[in-house]
């Protein structure tokens, strides 16, 4: 659960920086809806690398895997080194 809280906090900070002030639920679309762009995805990637130690160099990467807080959490669960 703490994983999802950290992701949730980060996404909300990112959205505020992007000038998006509407409430976002855990299943709301972020990428496919155009709320976040590729630069925001890069910020998210750096956050996930630093926070959860994920190495993206050998992962099949599709930015739509980050389409919602729920999906990001699922992605982290599947790729976090300690979980494998």
């Amino acid at each position: 659960m703490s994983r999802e809280i950290a992701i949730n906090d980060f996404i909300h900070r990112l959205l505020t920086e992007h000038g998006y002030d509407e409430k976002v639920d855990r299943a709301d679309s972020l990428i496919l809806s155009g709320v976040l762009d590729s630069l925001a995805v890069i910020h998210l990637v750096v956050f996930l690398e630093e926070q959860f130690g994920i190495d993206f160099s050998d992962i099949y990467f599709d930015q739509t895997s980050f389409d919602s807080i729920e999906k990001i959490s699922e992605f982290v669960k599947n790729h976090q080194p300690s979980s494998s």
Binding site: E17, L32, D37, S38, L39, I42, V45, Y60, T64, D67
Partner: protein, 509 residues
């Protein structure tokens, strides 16, 4: 009681009555009929064929992928393409092969052979992911290597001609194949045969895949009847908005250049369908064109030619030409790609717009994201992400710089070099590379400025921007891109011509 607001584009997708109607059989028919009427007014060639396809998409939404396959391949055979069959025929004939190809139907065996080879490579990369770890990089090296061999190797002319034909055809499908190579490693990858239905799709059969690959298309497809209805209404809305933008474009052309009537004449000659709409539109604008103009600037190309030959216009006039041409160019990109996205939405794929309010951009990086979204996404997917994920992880600034340059500089340059392969056929590899030197400098400057913009954005994002800065930001951004467009024109003899125009913008020159 609130007053009803006047809107240029009615909010059809937010009105429950319209959403309900669009789910009924008569409603679907009405929607396609309205959309077709607008396509006709937009002077879209083959608007009637597109309308037949859209009727099929509306009637059988659950068979969307099959309809897409049939539409794409039938359109390829009868519609306009960028295959340049006359040049391909010339290649064959000059190599002593008496094969004249006049259209895609006659060239179908060559298209199928190219796709068969591409399919074989995709299959290989799927079967041996460990041995072929970087399939897109290998494909790029193979493509460039073949260009070099065809340019300089002492091979029989028939083999050289065959290689060029293969490369020019593959060049058309290049980025589609790259998307498939990327997506075939996804756990939910679509089969190659299904992906081929989206190669050079009927809604825009050009080298840039709209909207990205089949995997993306599957993610944005409408899942329910209600979603489909909303998606189609959004498509209709966008087409209406494109109509307004087109009107702004012609009005701006008329005001700045006094040439809207001429533009219509040119379209009339090019376009065999939609003559009635053109006749009335063209006649109306020609009548207005006869009136005295507010300004009658020369077009950008003429102003540039004058500067290049040592007879520049006064500097104030050059600024007026540059700014007005840039504005018209933005309007042109917006309305043409809105039409494409509108058709995609009518097929039940809820794609984002290609151009989204570029004039509101506060940074150079933001403008790059807003003005041509799908080209930027292509560069991000194939150049930015792979570089960012692999290199300089411990040095964040260098990491961002290298990844940005990989996309906006190298990827941008490579995309245009592959797209304009006929330059390479005519000039040979190295001479063509030299002929691209202006674009090389253009993309180098662009890459560096996007990096600086991202870097600066990170630094100031925590701070609040003042009112004046907020107003000045879009002016600065547009000013930069406006000046940079001088160097987009890379088909000139040398960069000195572009520089001559650049210098003629200043009074001291």
């Amino acid at each position: 009681m609130t007053q009803p607001r006047f809107l240029l584009v009615p909010q059809l997708d937010l009105d429950e009555k319209w959403v309900a109607l669009a789910q009924t059989f008569p409603g679907k028919f009405l929607l396609v009929a309205g959309f077709s009427g607008l396509l006709f007014l937009h002077e879209i060639s083959y608007w009637w064929l597109l309308s037949i396809y859209l009727l099929a998409f509306s009637a059988w939404p659950e068979k969307r992928w099959g309809v897409l396959f049939a539409a794409t391949w039938s359109f390829l055979l009868v519609g306009p393409t960028d295959f340049h069959w006359e040049r391909i025929s010339h290649l064959f004939i000059s190599a002593g092969i008496p094969w004249e190809i006049h259209n895609s139907l006659a060239g179908l065996p060559l298209i199928l052979l190219t796709l068969l080879i591409a399919g074989g490579y995709i299959h290989l990369s799927q079967r041996c992911p460990q041995r072929l770890r970087r399939p897109i990089l290998v494909l790029t090296l193979f493509f460039l290597g073949m260009m070099l061999i065809a340019s300089y190797a002492p091979l029989p002319r028939t083999i050289t001609a065959g290689m060029w034909v293969f490369l020019t055809l593959l060049g058309q499908y290049y980025w589609f194949v790259c998307f498939t190579l990327k997506e075939c490693r996804s756990p939910q990858a679509l089969s190659f045969s299904r992906q081929v239905g989206q190669y050079l799709p009927f809604w825009e059969p050009t080298v840039i895949p709209y909207p990205k690959g089949s995997g993306y298309l599957r993610k944005i497809e409408a899942k329910t009847a209600r979603d489909f209805a909303i998606c189609q209404l959004k498509g209709l809305k966008l087409l209406i908005w494109a109509f307004w933008l087109k009107l702004f474009y012609f009005t701006a052309s008329l005001i700045f250049f006094g040439q809207a009537g001429l533009l219509f004449d040119r379209l009339l000659l090019k376009n065999e369908s939609g003559k009635i709409a053109l006749y009335w539109g063209g006649r109306f604008l020609r009548e207005i064109s006869a009136l005295p103009h507010l300004t009658q600037l020369p077009r950008f190309e003429s102003a540039m030619n004058m500067a290049a030959t040592g007879n520049p216009l006064p500097w104030q006039m050059n600024w007026a030409v540059l700014l007005s041409d840039f504005l018209c160019f933005l309007l042109y990109v917006a309305f043409t790609t809105h039409i494409v996205i509108a058709v995609i939405r009518m097929c039940g794929f809820n794609a984002l717009r290609n151009t989204y309010r570029p004039l509101e951009s506060k940074t150079i990086a933001e403008f790059w994201n807003r003005y041509f979204y799908y080209f930027k996404e292509l560069l991000v997917e194939f150049f930015f992400y792979p570089t960012f994920f692999r290199y300089f992880k411990k040095r964040p600034v260098l990491r961002m710089y290298v990844a940005t340059m990989a996309a906006a500089f190298f990827g941008n340059f490579l995309f245009h070099f592959i797209r304009d392969i006929w330059f390479v056929v005519e000039l040979g590899f190295f001479r063509a590379l030299f002929a691209f030197h202006t674009y090389f400098i253009y993309s180098f400057v662009l890459g560096n400025m996007i990096f600086l913009s991202q870097w600066r954005q990170e630094k100031v994002s925590q701070m609040k921007m003042g009112v004046i800065s907020r107003w000045l930001a879009p002016v600065r951004v547009l000013g930069f891109y406006c000046l940079l467009t001088i160097f987009v024109d890379f088909r000139r003899e040398s960069i000195s011509e572009n520089l001559a125009f650049f210098l003629s913008l200043f009074p001291f020159s």
